[in-house]
Structures are given as C-alpha cells and as structure tokens.
C-alpha cells in the first residue's frame, strides 16, 4: 500500500474540476472564435452586399441615362417640324397671311428670348479667408511665432 503525501494531495485539483475548467476554457475560446468569425462574416457580407448594390446602382444609372436620352429623342421625333406641321394641318390650322396679322405693342415685352438650356458658367468661387490660427497645429503656431519674433528682433544669431 502506497502512502500518499497528504500535503501534496491537498494542492491537487479533483479530476472533475480539471475537466470542468478545461471545458469552460474551451467553451470560452470557442465562443470568442465564433464571435470573431461572426463579426468578420457580418462585415464581409455587408461589404459584399454594399459592393453588389454599387454595381446594381451603376447599372441602374447607365440604364436611366440611356432611357433619358431615348425619351428626349422620342419627344423630339413626336414634335419635329414636319410632325407639328402635319398635326396643325389636321387640326385645321393654316399659316397666316401677312394681311391677317395684327401687331400689338405689349409694354415690357422684348420678343422671343434666346433659349437657355443650362445656366451660364458661374464666376470662380471666392476663396474663404480663414485665419491661420484656426488651421495651424500647436507646433506650427509655435514655429511661426518664433520666426516672426526672430524677424522683428533682427534674429537670434546676431
């Protein structure tokens, strides 16, 4: 019969405790890993989803550009000079003879004005003057201050 050292025995963990600790540690690690993987996966999925949305929006933009161009041209076809003349004729209109025209003076009316499709170029934006003290870092402010003082006093090296 082997006599065990009672003191040594007192510091040993019971096997079930050790197994429980190992299990808990494993679970913590597993949970941490799962959490990290979950965060990574979520971010990746969101980024991929955003990327696909960008792609989809780019396609949508191109489609809209084409549609707008087509619609603009189709409107022009429907309202072409020939088409409008034909429609006017069908509605019973005809061109006025010079003797049928009455000219009326309308105060302030300057006649048909040239078409403006887009606004004229805007004047160059005026630069906003911000005091340097609002944009300088502390070191820049100190450095500039030293240089200014040096210029005012004629230089430190004199």
């Amino acid at each position: 019969m082997t006599i065990r050292n009672p003191i040594h025995q007192a510091y040993r963990q019971a096997p079930w405790r050790r197994a429980t600790q190992a299990g808990v540690l494993f679970l913590i690690l597993a949970l941490l890993t799962a959490s990290i993987l979950w965060v990574m996966l979520t971010v990746t999925v969101q980024a991929a989803s955003a990327g696909l949305e960008i792609q989809s929006l780019e396609n949508e933009k191109e489609k809209l550009v084409r549609e707008i161009a087509s619609l603009r041209t189709n409107i022009a076809i429907q309202t072409s000079a020939e088409a409008m003349l034909e429609r006017a004729r069908n509605l019973g209109f005809r061109q006025a003879n010079p003797d049928e025209i009455t000219y009326v003076v309308i105060p302030g009316y300057t006649g048909k004005q040239p078409q403006i499709i887009a606004p004229p170029p805007s004047p160059p934006a005026q630069q906003v003057l911000i005091k340097p003290s609002y944009t300088q870092s502390l070191s820049e402010w100190l450095f500039q201050g030293i240089i200014r003082m040096s210029e005012q006093t004629g230089g430190f090296l004199q």
Binding site: T73, A76, S80, L85, I101, Y103, Q115, I116, I117
Partner: protein, 595 residues
C-alpha cells in the same frame, strides 16, 4: 482502454496536423514556384475586367432648344459560347426576328467553346428595342416550356436560347431627318471604334461632341467593388439655326426648284449684325439616320453642302462688291453719269450687256438697276486692278470664310501677274464672271454692306453646353472692308433700284435692298449655251437690316434670268421669314419705335 483512446486521438490529431502542414507547405511551394506568376495572372483575369465607357455623344439643338441630333437606346446581340446548348434555335430565332442569315449565325454559335477562344461572340448590333422585346418574349416562352417539360422528359434538350445575350448601347438619331442635314452632318456610328462625325457640325465639333472615352477596371469581387468613375457626356451644342426658318426655307426652295426646273438650289438666311446663320437650305439633302446612302444621294463629286462646298461664277450679284469698292474708294458717286453705248473694250476684248443693248445715259443707280455689265466694267477700270482686287481680298473672296462647318471650299482668284490673268479679267470679274465663290463667301462679303461696313464671321454655333453650364459663342468681326457711309449709300441705291424696276423681289410692307445675278456657266470648251446660274442677294429692312438672304438656282429651265426665277424665291422666303421672326412691317415698326 483509456490508453488506447488517448493514442487514437493523438494519431488522428497528428494526421490532421500533417495534412494541414502538407497543404501549407504546398501553398508556399506554389507561391515560390516559377509558375506562380502565371497562376496569379490567370487569377487576376477572374478578379476584374476592363471596360471602356463611351460617353454619351452630346446633343445638337437649334437656337430655341429643339433637338436636332440626339441618341436612342439600341442593342448589341452576341452569345456566350460556354452556355450555348441549342444553336439551331438561336440561329432560327435571330433569322426570324432580327433578319440575320441562319447559316452565318449557326456557324458562329455552334463552335464548341475552348478556353483559348473568346467566350463572347458578337452577332449583330444596333438592334431596335422592339426586336429585343420580341426576343425576350420568345426566351420567356421557351423557358416556360422547358420547365414544364423538365419533370416529364429528363435528359432531353428542349429548344432554348441559353447563351444569347443582348447588351444595351446608344445610337445617334436625328429626329428631323433631312431637315438641316447639310448643317448637322452625320455621325457614322456603325464602326464603334472608329466612329466619328462627317460634314457639318458633327465633323467640325467632333471632339467636343464625343467627349473622352474612359477605360476602367471593374472588380468582379463584390468586396473589392468601387464606384465606377463618372464619365461626363460629350458637350452639347446649341446652333444659331432656327428650325422653323430652316424648314420654311427648305420648303420654299424645293418648291421653286421644282417650278423652275433647276438642277439644284441653295438658300442662306443670315443675321448680318452677328453673322449668325438662321437657315441654310440646299439640295440634295441626306437623311443622316441613313448615312450609308451617301453615295446614292451625292453621286460623283456633288458637295454635301453646296452653300459652303461648291464654288460657282455668281454673275451680277458680284456687282454689289464692285460698286461697294468703287464708292468706298471715291471713284464714283451714286449720281456719277455714265453713257452706255452697249460695248466697252477692256484689254482689247469687247464687253457687252446681258441683252447686248445700249442703255444710253445712266447714273450708278441705273447701272445697278439695269445690271449693266458695260458700266460695271468701266467702274472697275476706273478703280484699277490693284484697288479692285485688294477690295475683293478684304471682302474675303478667294479665302475660306472659316464658317464652323466641315467641308468648306474656296477658289483663289487670279490677280495681275498670275499666269492666266489678262486685262479683260478685270472687266469680266467686275460682273462676277471668270471669278468663283461659294454662296457663304458671297453672303458674308455682302453682309458688310448690310451691316454698316462690318463683316461678321459666319457661324452656326450659338453656345456650348458642357458640364451643366452654357458657354456663349460671341459674334466676331472679321473685317471692315468698306465704311459705314459707303454701306448705307449702296443699300439705299440697291433699294431704290429694286423699287424703280418693280422687281419681283419686293416684299409688301418691307423695304429691302438687293441685286439679281445671272451667270453663264463655264464648260470644257467655253461657256455653256442656254445654261445659267440664277442668283439673288437681298437684305432688309433697309433702315435696320435684320436679315440677309442669298439664293442660287442652278440651271433653271423655265427662264435663265435671276430676276425671273431667283427674285421670286427671295421674295417668298422673306415674306415667310418676317412672320417667323416676328418682324412687323416697316410702318408699324417705325410707329412702335416712335411710341
């Protein structure tokens, strides 16, 4: 038992670790191997693809914003060979809907795909959306049939359009068809890589309209997806052309060509104060939507735009320039007397009047009114060749006007000292024979008389719309060949001469100045018998000219005279023009001004 389990765990763990290490080792080995670069390149082809973004070609508008040239959606049809399983159905459908040749399509799509071959094969392009709608409905129908049959008949290839792809793109379109096509030109879009504008503003402003194509790398990995750079569309152009005036001018010109039996015609309407061209009608005209019919419409050496691309001997309309030069140089006054004996010898060659008659005592107004060659030849001799040709040079004759349209032509004139110039040239040149000019040169030169002596640069570009902003194209003075006094004196002379001869060009309610021209046509063995060019130039209202109109009928059949065929054409254009320009008759306008 416990010992065995423990060993088994260690064995499995060791085996898995060994496999992991082996994979890791091979990964490193592959990355360091000589083939690694090749693998990386192959991998890169799946990461991104290059895409050339062609900006939308800029639009062309008239001065009131009516679209003259735009773009419409159209499609390119091709196949991805990797997915084609039924080439017969694809070929038959495209033959039926798009009109492609069955065998050609079948040969293209039945080729088994090899990784060395391109997987995409283009079959046709510029297919209308209506045809794509038909293809789409056929594909949907075939897919439904396949789904229904899949449960019953396995391992049977049902008819399908798998692998057929249609990609949208833009195509140039001209809503007004032939209207102003000589000014607009056309965009030969069929060869996308080399497509460019030809003639008119499409050629002149091709770079501006086209914009700059951008080549971008598009990531296939959604994680690496970036915003595709925004490619601004080409600049849009606003022209000085008034669509309604252009339509009217073309309509009236066509009518007079038909009634006079002329071979072709030109009519140009310009604002003399700015040089803005309001209308430029010519025949023949091409529908730029069908630009590939160019050689049918313009056989031989026919110019696309005769108003700028064909020089001709203008005849007596040229007398306006001769008289302007003589008045400006102080050689003659409106009241300067001239005794017309019906013939004058210049350089030993007799020059006679158009009717071979003698018109007796005349003043300069009478000379212009009766269009006396003898008188104008005398005026030119009084001026002398040096001054005469110097004035012509200042008027821009013999030089390109610089009008902003592709295809302008010019023919330099002979001056003393040149091989082929004889003294008699001075006499014949004075009434527009032996000297050639384009209608745009003539109207530009004569516009100086209508604009207080200032000659404006003829142009069709009113503004450029780029990046959402509209930039105006200001009028430019290109010369001051005569003084304002000379211009006003000559305008009054020409208005009076029209009134005194009761010209067919007179417009009721509006005082206009103008001059007819009838020119013989040079042929291989001298001037042609019984074939003339009939012209007329006129402007008004005389006290404040708002328009100048130049017309030319080539070889009219009903009458050879400009006064008979060209003057009525001018009159009808002006009668309609004043309505379209909201220009009241002189009496009303002067009354309004007085209020």
């Amino acid at each position: 038992m416990k010992q065995n389990s423990f060993l088994r765990f260690w064995f499995v763990g060791g085996l898995l670790s060994a496999v992991g290490l082996f994979i890791f080792f091979w990964m490193i080995r592959i990355n360091l191997s000589p083939q690694a670069e090749v693998f990386r390149k192959i991998g890169a082809t799946y990461e991104t693809y290059r895409k050339t973004i062609y900006p939308e070609r800029g639009n062309i508008y008239d001065r009131w914003g009516h679209l003259l040239a735009g773009n419409v959606e159209t499609y390119e049809i091709g196949v991805d060979l990797r997915f084609v399983s039924d080439p017969q159905t694809i070929a038959a459908t495209l033959a039926q809907v798009v009109g492609l040749d069955y065998n050609t399509v079948y040969d293209s799509v039945s080729e088994p795909w090899d990784s060395d071959l391109p997987r995409y094969v283009k079959l046709t392009d510029f297919v209308d959306p209506e045809k794509i709608d038909q293809l789409d409905s056929i594909e949907t129908q075939l897919n439904r049939q396949r789904e229904a049959a899949s449960s019953r008949r396995r391992n049977t290839v049902m008819p399908n359009l798998d692998g057929l792809i249609w990609t949208p793109m833009l195509k140039r379109s001209y809503p007004e068809h032939t209207l102003g096509s000589n000014i607009i030109g056309f965009y030969a879009y069929r060869e996308r890589e080399t497509a460019r504008g030809y003639f008119g503003v499409e050629e002149k402003y091709n770079q501006l309209l086209a914009g700059t194509p951008v080549e971008v790398e598009v990531a296939l990995d959604p994680y690496k997806m970036n915003e595709i750079p925004s490619v601004p569309p080409g600049a849009s152009l606003m022209l000085t052309i008034d669509r309604d005036i252009q339509a009217m001018t073309e309509r009236v010109l066509d009518k007079h060509i038909e009634s006079s039996g002329a071979k072709s015609g030109v009519a140009v309407v310009m604002d003399p104060e700015t040089g803005e061209i309001l209308a430029m009608a010519v025949t023949p005209r091409l529908d730029p939507n069908e630009y590939w019919k160019y050689s049918e419409v313009f056989p031989g050496i026919t110019a696309y735009n005769r108003a700028i691309g064909t020089t001709y001997e203008p005849g007596s309309v040229f007398k306006v320039l001769t008289m302007a030069a003589a008045l400006d140089a102080g050689v003659v006054q409106p009241s300067t007397p001239f005794l017309d004996t019906g013939v004058i010898m210049v350089g030993g060659v007799p020059i006679r009047n158009w009717d071979r008659g003698a018109w007796g005592p005349q003043d300069m107004i009478g000379c212009m009114q009766h269009s006396l060659n003898v008188c104008l030849a005398w005026v030119a001799t009084q001026l002398g060749p040096s001054k005469f040709y110097n004035y012509l040079n200042n008027f821009g004759i013999g030089h390109l006007t610089g009008v902003d349209l592709g295809g302008e032509a010019s023919q330099p004139f002979l001056v003393p000292g040149d091989n082929g110039w004889y003294e008699v040239n001075l006499g014949t040149n004075s009434f527009g024979q032996g000297i050639a000019a384009t209608p745009i040169q003539m109207i530009t030169a004569i516009s100086a008389v209508a604009n207080h002596g200032k000659m404006m640069a003829p142009h069709v570009l009113k503004a450029v719309i780029e990046n959402g902003e509209q930039y105006s194209n200001p009028p430019q003075i290109i010369g001051k060949p005569i003084s304002a006094e000379t211009a006003e004196t000559l305008t009054t002379m020409l208005a009076t001469s029209l009134e005194e001869e009761s010209s067919a060009a007179l417009v009721e309610g509006y005082r206009v100045a103008g001059k007819t021209g009838t020119a013989e046509i040079p042929g291989p063995g001298g001037y042609l018998d019984s074939a003339t060019n009939a012209s007329f130039v006129g402007w008004g209202p005389v006290d404040d000219p708002r328009f100048i109109v130049y017309v030319w009928l080539e070889q009219p059949q009903t009458s050879p005279w400009g006064s008979v065929v060209a003057a009525p054409l001018f009159k009808e254009i002006v009668e309609n023009l004043v309505i379209l320009m909201d220009l009241p008759p002189d009496s009303i306008r002067q009354g309004m001004a007085g209020q």
